[in-house]
Amino acid sequence: MSTQAEITTLDRVRDLIVKYGFIVVTVALFIFFAVTEPAFATSASVLSMLKYASVTAILGLGVTFSMVVGGLDLSIGSTAGLSVQLAAMTMVFYNLTGTTAVSVVLIGGVIVGVMNAVLIVVFKIPDLLATLGMMFVIQGVKLIPVFGQSVSSGMVLPDGSTAPGKFDDWFLQIDRGTLFGIPYPVIIMMVLVVASWFVLSRTSWGRKLYAIGANPEAARLAGVKVKLHHGLAYVVSAVFASIGGIILVSRIGQGDVSAGSSSLLEAVAVALVGTSVLGIGKPNAWGTLLGALLISIVLTGMTMMGTQYYHQDTAKGLVLIVALLLSYTVSRHKNRYVPAT
C-alpha cells in the first residue's frame, strides 16, 4: 500500500498545478494590465470589473447547478431576459412597486424552472433538448406582453393611453447602490457564490445533487429521490437567472428586448471553465466565480488598451483555451485513469 500512498502524493503535486495553474493565469493577466494600464488597478475600475462579472457569475452559478445534476441549462439567458421584461412591465405598465416587481420576477423564475423540470424528469426529455426548446419559447413569449418593444415609462400603450408607472428609485438602486462602497451586485454575487458553495459541498442536499450527476441509477438505488432533486436543481438554476435578470434591468433602467440573450454562452463558458479550475474536475461555485472574473478582467483590460471589440473575442477564447490546456493537459493522467475490475 505504500506504493499507493506515493500515488496520492504524486497526485497531490499534480493537483497543485491543476489547482493553481488557472488562478495563476488570472492573477498574471491582472498584473499585466495593472502595469500596462495605470487606470486598470484603481479601486473604481476593479469595482466596476467585479460589477460586470456579477451577472455572468450569477447566471454561471445557475448553469453550475444544472451541470451538477449532469445536465446543462440552455434557457438561462432567455430566462434572464424574461425577468427584464417582467420587472419593467410590473412597474411601468401596472404601476406597482419595485418589491412587487422583484417578487413577480422570482415567481416567474420558479415557474420557468418548474417547466424545465417537468419536461426533463416527468417527460424524460434530455436536459439539453428540453432547455433548448424552452429557450426559444421564452425568447418569444417574453416579448408578447410588451409588443416586442422596450418598456419605458411614458410609453404609449396599444389602447392609446400612456403607461402610468415608472421604475422605482429603490429598484434602480439594486444596480447603482453601494454598501461601504461595494456595489450591491457584487455583494449579491458574493452571497450567492458562498451560498452555492456551501449548499453544494457542505450539505446533504448538495451531496445528493452530485450523486445524481455521477450516477442517477446508483443514486436511486441508494434511496435518493432522483427526479425530485434533479428537477429542483433546474428551479434553482432558473431562480439564479431571474436574480441576474433583476440586476440587468436595474442597470439598463428600462425593459430592453434584447437583454440577456448574449449572456447564455458566456454563462455556460464560465461554468464549464469553473469545472476545470481548483482541480476539482466537477462543476463548483468558486470555479464559476473565477471564470467570470477572468473574463471580466480580460474584457476590461483590453478595452482600456483600446483594442477593437473583435480582438476581445479572440482573447476571451484564447484565455479560455489556455486555462483548459493547463488543467486538462497537466492533469491528463487523472482523466485517463481507468479502473479495471
Binding site: 500500500m1 506504493t3 499507493q4 500512498a5 506515493e6 500515488i7 496520492t8 504524486l10 497526485d11 457542505r202 450539505t203 446533504s204 442536499w205 451531496r207 445528493k208 450523486a211 455521477a214 450516477n215 441509477e217 446508483a218 443514486a219 436511486r220 438505488l221 441508494a222 434511496g223 435518493v224 429521490k225 474536475g281 493522467h333 485513469y337 479502473p339 479495471a340 475490475t341
Partner: protein, 507 residues
Amino acid sequence: MTTTTDENWALELDSITIAFGANQVLKGVDLKLRPGSVTALLGANGAGKSTLIKVLSGVYSAQGGTVRVDGDEVEIESPSDASKHGIQTVHQRIDDSIVPGLTVAENLVFEEIARGEFPAVSSLRRLMPRARTIASTLDLDWDDSILKQDVFHLGIADCQLLLLARALVHRPKVLVLDEPTSTLSASEAERLFALVEQLRDAGVAILYVSHRLSEIRQLADTVVVLRDGKVVDEQAAPFDLGVAIGAMLGREALEEESALQVQRGEGTALSISGARILDDSALVDMDFRYGEVTAIIGLIGAGKTELAQAVFGANRLEAGTFTLDGKPFAPRHPSTAVDAGVFLVPEDRAHEAMFPGWSITRTLTVPFLSRFARLGVMAGGAERAASATAIEDFGVVATGPNQPVDALSGGNQQKVVVARWMAAGPRVLILDEPFRGVDIGARTELSLKARSQAADGACVVVMLSDVDELRQVADRVIVLVEGEVRLDAYADEIDDDQIITSMSEVA
C-alpha cells in the same frame, strides 16, 4: 529471432512489470502457456489478474519484460497487435466490450469492422452471414430478428456469450478468459466448458481466470497463482487447491463450508403473497424470517433481481403484496424501503452502486446522509469516522477513506457496497449476486458478515446462482425457476443434487 526453449510454448511471459503512477501492480510476472492446455490463473481481488490480461491483449503496454509467441519475441502495443499474433481475450467487464446502439450482428463482427477486415462499405444485410457464422460457433440459437435488434435488448448473460463467440471464431492460438462464468447460468457455463475443452484438444493455449474452484478442478491442466503482482505458486494436475488458496490469500484456507451451523430464525420479517415475478409466471408466496440467512437460488432469468428490486421499491411487480412485520408494505420508491430498514445490495455494482471517482467515504454514506448531517449540513468528522470503521470491519484493502472506490479491485469494491448497508443495521437485507467477481477470501468474509448480521436478528436474503456459494452462506434455501418457487427447505435438510435438479426442472 527464435529462442532455444526445451519445449515450444504458445506464449511466454518473462518478468512482465507495469505500474500505474507509483502503484506497481505487476512486479515481474513469468508465465508460460502450453498449446493444447488450460492454465487457470488464480488470485485474490486486486492481485493483478485483469491487469496482466490487459497487458496480454494490448490494452496496456508492459513497462518491462518480454512476450514471446511460438518462441518469437513480439511487441503488443495495441489490441489489434494481440489478435494479429493470435491472442484473443474476453475481458472481465462486459460493458467494456459491448457497443450499445449497434445491433447484435454488428457487435458480433465488431472486431473485424474495427480491424478493417470488412469492405469499407457494407450494409447490415452484408454483415449478417458473418454474424450468423460467429453466433453458430457457440451454437447460439439467435434468429435474425435478434441479430438485427439493438444489443441493449440482450441480457447480461447473452452479452457474455456474444463476446465469447466473437473471440472464439478466430480460432486463436491463445485464448484468454477473464472470469467468463461470473454472469453465466449453470447450463450456459457447461456449454462454455465443453467448448473450452474442444478448443484445448484443437491445440489452443487457454488462460482461464476464475474464482470458482469447481470450474478450475474441472478444466485446468495447470494452476498459476498470482499474488500482489507476482506468481507465488504453480501446480500441474492433480492440484492441491488448499495449498493454492493458501498461497493466493497468504494464509491457510478457511474452514470447510460444511462447518456452517444452520440457524433457524423465528418471527416473520417480510412476507410476499400472490406475487407475479416474471411476465407470465404463476403467483408465488414467500416468508422471510429474522435471524436466518435465506438464499434464493436460480438460473439467470429466474427473476431474482426482479423480486429483489420489487421488495426494495426499485420496480413494480404485475401482482403481489408485501407485509413487513405484519403491516402492509408497498414501497413506491427505494427511499421508502430504506426508511423502513429494507436494504438491497444490487447485482451490478458498477452501474447500480458506484459513483465514478467518488471516495469510499462518500460512497458509503449516500443512503444515510441525514444520519451524518445536522440541519442538512454534513458533519465531515462523523462521516470519516464511520467509513474508517467500515473499512476496518470489512477488511477493505485501500489507502484510506478518501481513495476512489473505482480504484479498488472488484472484491474490495464489493466489500464497500455491502458494508454501506450492513453497517447501517438493516431489518431486511437483500444481496443480489454479492459474490460476483469476488475471491474466496472476500467471499468468506462477506458470508460471515451476512451470517453474523442474521445472528444479530436481521433478516438476510441472498440471491445466488451457484451452489457452492449457497452452501457457504445459507441457512434456508428457496429455489426459483422462471419466477416460481420449486423448493423451500433448510440447508441441512437437503443435498446439492436435490437443489440442482430442482433448479433445472422446467414446468
